[in-house]
């Protein structure tokens, strides 16, 4: 019986080629559109996720008071002695690396007078900046920190926006004027050895080794945050759960990056946006399929009536119409993938430029770059293909139910 229904579906599809082609085209268009859109979205937000988790730490440890008011960067709410904590963390399963970090606002000057150039000074290990921040690859001039830690202490890597505003050049001395955790004015100076890409948040940052900011903040051996890294940022929640029970961390706030603001809201938002885009495309294409399939069923009312009179059950009528639509959707879906893979691959390799200005404006908190690349994967292609099948199923539901409801006698009398 099933074989018969499938043969009938295929015959019906071939009998009305133009309509079948139209239906397949709609599916192809929908699948191609979804592939390109989701490829780009996945690229943007996937990269943001990786960069955000890298900067924020897969798991972040800080005092409760710091976590509550971290937007104000309260230096006095710090972890006084991080060395024993880093040792304890290093022994934990699942922990690949852990680093101390201090961030504070500074005024930068290369001249005699303190001006109005403000930046964010970030003190951490150069290894952290390079491995998890990916910042060495963002150098546009000069070189990275020296391997010799003593030498590195005198070095500064500066964001391009700050370099431009202070008019400082490579090799020149720069003074960072900040405050100790007690509120006293506190300066450090160093030589600018490297300049970072100006777009995004890094353009307004100045990077120094942790020891320098510990001195500036009068926080010897301390830090405001401990950043802990797992094998992959996707394991952050798991790592958070395992670190919470560590006695050395009692009284401190342990949080996975995806559970911290603003990442927690951004992740939910991006998932929702992707879902909405997919839902809209599926709905619109389904409407078109509904139209063509309904026409097909109405034209064959007499034929279906005869088949019903000959013993075809309502479920069989539904199966027949659905199978026809599914077959068209498979062809349309494959065509859609072929159509969409070209632009998606181009997005992945060449990216789309948002422009430095837009990246700077958007990059206040979330790391975003001037050029955004797509992320094409076999998983995404399969997902879009399956959505194509969903479009067909959704669009064909009402026509199939109509076919199932055809009264045989009335249908045969109608002669259609």
């Amino acid at each position: 019986m099933l074989q018969l229904l499938l043969r009938l579906s295929l015959r019906n599809a071939r009998r009305r080629r133009a309509r079948s082609l139209l239906t397949a085209s709609m599916v192809a268009f929908g699948v191609a559109l979804l592939l390109v859109a989701l490829c780009w979205m996945q690229g943007i937000f996937g990269k943001i996720e990786v960069d955000a988790a890298g900067q924020a730490g897969h798991v972040r440890i800080a005092t409760e008071a710091f976590a509550e008011r971290e937007q104000l960067m309260p230096l006095h709410e710090n972890i006084a002695d991080i060395a024993p904590l880093l040792t304890a963390l290093g022994k934990q399963p699942g922990v690949v690396a852990a680093y101390g970090k201090i961030s504070t606002g500074v005024t930068l000057t290369a001249a005699e007078e303190i001006g109005d150039v403000f930046g964010l000074a970030v003190g951490a290990s150069p290894e952290y900046f390079e491995t998890y921040g990916g910042l060495k690859s963002k150098l546009v001039a000069g070189r990275w920190f020296s391997r010799d830690s003593k030498q590195a202490e005198e070095e500064i890597v500066l964001g391009a926006q700050l370099a431009e505003r202070t008019a400082v050049e490579l090799g020149q001395e720069l003074v960072l004027l900040g405050m100790t955790q007690y509120g006293s004015m506190s300066p450090i100076k160093g030589r600018v050895t490297g300049i970072l890409d100006g777009s995004g948040i890094f353009g307004r940052q100045v990077l120094v080794p942790l020891e320098r900011l510990q001195w500036l903040a009068d926080m010897e051996g301390g830090a405001t945050e401990l950043l802990v890294f797992a094998e992959h940022h996707g394991r952050a929640v798991e790592l958070e759960e395992s670190l919470r029970g560590l006695p050395a961390l009692s009284g401190l706030k342990v949080q996975a990056w995806s559970r911290r603001a603003p990442f927690s809201t951004v992740k939910g938002m991006t998932d929702a946006v992707g879902g909405i885009i997919a839902a809209i495309v599926v709905f619109l294409v389904s409407l078109g399929i509904w139209n063509t399939m309904m026409m097909s069923v109405l034209e064959r009312t007499h034929e279906i009536g005869v088949m019903r009179a000959m013993g075809l059950r309502p479920l069989g009528a539904v199966a027949m119409v659905m199978a026809e639509a599914a077959g068209i959707a498979v062809v349309g879906g494959l065509a859609g993938l072929l159509l969409g893979v070209g632009p998606a691959w181009w997005l992945e390799t060449h990216g789309l430029s948002l422009g430095e200005q837009t990246a700077r404006q958007m990059g206040g908190t979330i790391p975003i770059e001037a050029t955004v690349y797509g992320d094409l994967s076999p998983g995404l292609m399969l997902f879009c293909f399956l959505l194509g099948l969903c479009m067909a199923v959704l669009g064909t539901t009402l026509p199939a139910l109509h076919a199932a409801g055809i009264a045989p006698v009335a249908a045969m009398r109608s002669g259609r």
Binding site: E112, E113, I114, T180, Q181, Y182, G183, P187
Partner: protein, 258 residues
């Protein structure tokens, strides 16, 4: 003519005495003019030269920090401060000349001029801002004053003085001052913003006599924009009218090491 009797003479004298006493008492009860009060306050608080050893205790953010410094003053416009303790801040110097303020930071062996937004920050994280340090001590120049009555502060009888700024550039647009009736020292001041918000409370006590001058040696400043914050300033080894080297009030003094 009848000669006055001893009794009538005595009565006349008593009446005259009573009248004089009443007049004097009435005069004493009348508040001095605001201008007069300000003048006499300024006479106590302003000086030609002054040197002092100062201990500043800053409490806030759950911590207490103690700074020791030596402070020089010349007239209304010039002041110099060198920090002696704690060790991290030793050698930090500040120099005010007129409207300009410089700081020498030994960590970077550099002199920086402080201007703009930096002026509003507290000195060494204290409740006394650089702007407070820059402000003219002669209140008469920047305020219009009126005596609004009497009050008391910590058991001391005071005149209540209300001051309103005559320029928008003045940090505290309104001041409410308790002026000790005896010492003519502003034992308490409330400093307000243009919006009417209370910004700081400044109290002065332990007034000592230096020749004809009375000067407070203990001050407490509370910045109400910071939670739980206060700064206590104690002056010891306070001397006025001494000869100070001109070099102290020159920029080269900032980079001079002892």
């Amino acid at each position: 003519m009848q000669r006055p009797t001893p009794t009538s003479t005595l009565s006349a004298i008593a009446a005259a005495l009573a009248l004089t006493t009443a007049l004097v008492m009435q005069a004493a009860a009348e508040p001095p003019s605001a201008r007069e009060l300000l003048k006499r306050m300024d006479a106590n608080l302003t000086f030609e030269t002054r040197k002092a050893r100062v201990k500043m205790t800053v409490e806030g953010k759950g911590r207490t920090r103690v700074y020791e410094m030596v402070s020089f003053g010349r007239g209304q416009d010039d002041a110099a401060v060198e920090y002696l303790e704690p060790r991290r801040d030793k050698g930090t110097k500040m120099l005010k000349l007129g409207d300009e303020l410089w700081i020498y930071l030994p960590a970077i062996e550099r002199v920086q001029k402080i201007s703009g937004h930096m002026l509003r920050q507290g000195m060494m994280g204290s409740d006394v801002s650089y702007e407070d340090m820059m402000a003219s001590r002669e209140l008469e120049k920047d305020y219009r004053a009126s005596v609004t009555g009497s009050g008391s502060h910590e058991g001391r009888d005071c005149w209540l003085l209300e001051l309103k700024a005559t320029k928008k550039s003045v940090s505290y647009q309104r001041r409410k001052t308790w002026v000790d009736k005896e010492t003519l020292i502003p034992v308490k001041q409330e400093l307000y913003a243009l919006s009417g918000k209370l910004l700081k409370t400044w109290t002065m006590s332990r007034v000592k006599l230096f020749g004809e001058r009375r000067f407070p040696t203990h001050m407490v400043i509370r910045d109400h924009t910071k939670k739980g914050s206060s700064t206590t300033i104690e002056m010891t080894e306070l001397v006025f009218g001494i000869r100070l080297e001109d070099e102290v009030f020159a920029r080269r003094w900032l980079e001079r090491r002892h």
